[in-house]
């Protein structure tokens, strides 16, 4: 029903917005190969030397290791808790069901600084010293909802009759879960886990408050940005981080092609 003019102008506007989203990501990719110590545009000389500098930076490597450990643990907790919550909310009607969904979404609907400062207050109150586990606890709290969203989107699309058929054919509860329920949600759980990993790997707002003197990769970047002349290394790590998170997100997107409601709901 749109006229030709409308279609063309909407398409043009959409193209501009998409360019706005992507040009910065491409630019940082180019900046990472600049030779100069001081970032300036246009880049006159290109070099890969900062890649080697960054790679041999032991503090950066330690931070990377911490980030991967935290993300792995937070993801494991998020997958367990998120899928349990999704099953409970999908399968049962109970008092306070909507409140449960709201409470799970709260950590990402409220600004990260609220979660961060709340956790810091609790740690100070309880005399808990910052450790890897305090970072993990913070990350798991907002990662749960990611798995929950993906699992719920899949469960809503899976017909319950499949499980009834399985039971009718004589399978017990465990067999039904093992052969029917789990295979139908497995890819959604993997997708949720991948996204939770990506989210935790990149998180900085909450992490700052729960990390104490420890350093995750985003905290390392944030620290470098306050120092002079660190830009070339940061550019290299920045591009690597972007590319590294693209992989799990792309995989998750492929797994959740048919239920985009899950992956979009961050």
């Amino acid at each position: 029903m749109e006229g030709r003019g409308t279609r063309i102008s909407v398409t043009a506007a959409a193209a501009l917005v998409l360019a706005f989203l992507w040009v910065p990501l491409l630019l940082i990719g180019v900046y990472a190969f600049a030779e100069s110590k001081i970032p300036a545009w246009p880049i006159t000389e290109f070099s890969t030397k900062w890649w080697s500098t960054a790679w041999h930076n032991t503090r950066m490597r330690d931070a990377l290791k911490t980030s991967v450990e935290v993300a792995a643990m937070a993801t494991a907790i998020a997958v367990l808790l998120g899928s349990a919550a999704a099953f409970a909310v999908h399968r049962f009607r109970f008092f306070g069901r909507d409140t449960v969904s709201l409470m799970l979404v709260l950590p990402i609907a409220l600004p990260g600084i609220v979660t961060g400062l709340a956790l810091l207050s609790a740690m100070q109150y309880g005399g808990i010293t910052p450790s890897l586990l305090t970072i993990v606890a913070g990350h798991a709290t907002f990662c749960v909802v990611v798995v929950y969203n993906n699992a719920l989107a899949r469960l809503r699309r899976t017909p319950g009759s499949l499980e009834e058929a399985s039971m009718d054919l004589g399978a017990d509860g465990w067999q039904t879960f093992r052969h029917i329920t789990l295979p139908s949600v497995a890819t959604a759980l993997v997708a949720g886990g991948l996204l939770a990993f990506a989210l935790s790997f990149d998180e900085v707002i909450v992490t700052y408050f729960t990390a104490g003197s420890q350093e995750t990769l985003p905290l390392w970047i944030f620290q470098q940005l306050k120092l002079p002349n660190q830009a070339p290394q940061v550019n290299v790590v920045a591009v690597s981080v972007i590319v590294l998170t693209f992989i799990p997100v792309l995989l998750a997107q492929r797994l959740m092609r048919n239920d985009p409601a899950g992956i979009g709901g961050r």
């Binding site: 910065p24 600004p111 709340a118 956790l119 810091l120 100070q124 465990w174 940061v234």
Partner: protein, 299 residues
């Protein structure tokens, strides 16, 4: 020969399955208890500690937190002009970012739903998804690079003949950066809302003689409103609570960086906690308003 063998006892697994089948509430309890406990202990417990801290004070001399209840922090926040200005400024930038994102998101979402072929829709969807999930910090940093005096922005403006602008470390820089960072959070809910509009509705509007402008105002926009409201929850809330971007790209104080410096430099956790209550209250008011607009159906 004895024939009366004992009946085969059912395996434990089968008995357990049957037990849980008969006691469904137990299954619910086992599923719900761990996530509920986690959220209650870790998250709600922490929020309670935050509220408690906001009612405590820091001793100026010893720097220790004194656990005596008082409203002193909130009185300071309310009576000091600077903090009132900072709060208004923060709400202002959050509102500006929300409006900007709604305007930018709409054509892209509309294109995806109504104009793009299935193939292009899938490509654009991934094109929105990747920035949504990619590193927040790196994207803020990239804008700092782009908007620095000898950055990409000024270079392009000069090439286009507009001359250079001095927006590095300013409110403008923050506005652009925040709009950029949270844009995908607005695109996806609007996309979901537009997708739910039956095409026949738009055809009917056209058949009844409405031009595209009228159809947009009277049919599309009202039906997209829940999506815009849902997206605005994220753009508004996330901008209001941000402290990284204000620290990295602006030179002004916002709620986020005041809290940040009160935790780091000033070491005044109770005051930081009290200032954190401000965005929580504002968000509570905001959520009540957008709930009326049907935002929760759009989530």
């Amino acid at each position: 020969m004895a024939v009366s063998a004992a009946p085969n006892p059912q395996p434990l697994r089968t008995r357990l399955s049957a037990f849980f089948y008969r006691h469904r509430w137990l299954k619910l309890l086992l599923l719900l208890l761990p996530p509920l406990l986690w959220i209650c202990v870790v998250y709600l417990g922490a929020l309670a500690a935050l509220l408690a801290h906001s009612l405590w004070t820091t001793n100026d001399l010893t720097q220790e937190v004194e656990r005596t209840w008082s409203l002193d922090n909130f009185r300071t926040l309310w009576e000091t002009d600077v903090y009132r200005t900072i709060t208004l400024r923060t709400v202002g930038i959050a509102a500006a970012v929300t409006i900007t994102d709604a305007i930018l998101a709409f054509p892209l979402a509309y294109y995806m739903v109504r104009i793009a072929s299935p193939r292009w829709r899938a490509i654009v969807f991934v094109g929105v998804l990747m920035p949504l999930w990619s590193s927040y910090l790196v994207r803020v940093y990239t804008w700092r690079l782009i908007m620095s005096d000898n950055g990409f922005a000024n270079w392009s403006l000069e090439k286009l003949g507009f001359g250079s602008v001095d927006i590095a470390y300013s409110m403008w820089a923050l506005w652009i950066t925040e709009s950029y960072i949270w844009l995908p959070f607005m695109i996806l809910p609007i996309y979901a809302a537009l997708e739910r509009i039956p095409p026949s509705l738009l055809e009917a509007s056209g058949d009844l003689g409405a031009r595209i402008g009228v159809t947009f105002r009277r049919v599309i926009l009202p039906l997209a409103l829940p999506g815009i409201a849902a997206g605005s929850i994220f753009t508004f809330s996330l901008t209001m609570g941000d402290y990284i971007a204000p620290v990295l790209v602006s030179n002004t104080q916002f709620i986020g960086n005041v809290i940040y410096s009160n935790v780091g430099v000033a070491n005044n956790l109770p005051f930081a906690a009290a200032f954190t209550v401000v965005p929580i209250v504002i968000m509570a008011i905001y959520l009540t308003i957008v709930r009326r607009l049907g935002a929760f159906e759009g989530l």
